[in-house]
Point group: C2
Chain length 139, copies 2
């Protein structure tokens, strides 16, 4: 957090253990294939890949979490296909890494990030809404 | 991060805007009701509530994100009912806040946290797996 230009590292955290229903349990998991493909790809500047054992979103395999420090929104994406979504994930990560707050305008997101979001999480630093029960403050 | 005893604050980030399918769009959203109920409850030590406008998990209303700094796992929970789940959410947040890493043993989690997890996210500080494609390192 030194100069205004410095940003937290961006991390693609990929679940390597979940598998689509009905797939061979002995086969290499698609998430591991995705994580390896990302690790071997020409990653955008400031982006790293981390393989983890379970994101607990097992019905939406493959899944990943895109994050970039307490100042940025983070996102969980699912139903990812290592064979067809690699380029979109890399483009989406590059757009994300170029932001200060992790918020990429909708039209600039790859389709896979627009359509396959499981959840988004606000920056740690973002203040919350007024939760006063005063009707005047409602919504 | 001063002494070993100090932990990051724990935050219950509650989506206040999503609503169950078919509900009245003009009614107070259940997530806002949940956020207000939590804010008015006897919160466990070190736990705060933050209402936000969208966690983008709209089909799983009500939803919340349980987090506690870069050293802890964080969790997204869904299908929450402000009328029946308040005590369980508070108990789960207390158990979580008592941990260093956010990992509460399965049997000690309230049922709603066991059954209604949408995703879990590893601590920022947790190293990733070896993604080497060397077959000897496989799984």
């Amino acid at each position: 957090m030194g100069t205004p230009q410095s940003k937290s590292p961006v991390v693609l955290t990929v679940c390597t253990t979940c598998r689509p229903a009905g797939s061979d349990p002995e086969a290499i998991r698609p998430g591991l294939t995705l994580a390896r493909a990302l690790a071997e790809a020409d990653l955008p500047e400031g982006v790293t890949v981390r393989g983890v054992e379970c994101l607990s979103a097992c019905t939406r395999s493959c899944t990943l979490h895109l994050s970039g420090g307490p100042e940025r929104w983070s996102y969980v994406y699912g139903d990812l296909d290592p064979a067809s979504h690699l380029d979109e994930i890399l483009a989406g990560a590059a757009a994300y890494a170029a932001t200060e707050d992790g918020f990429v305008p909708w039209r600039e997101r790859p389709v896979v990030f627009r359509k396959q979001s499981i959840a988004r999480i606000p920056p740690v630093e973002m203040p919350g809404l007024d939760l006063s029960a005063d009707p005047a403050a409602k919504d």
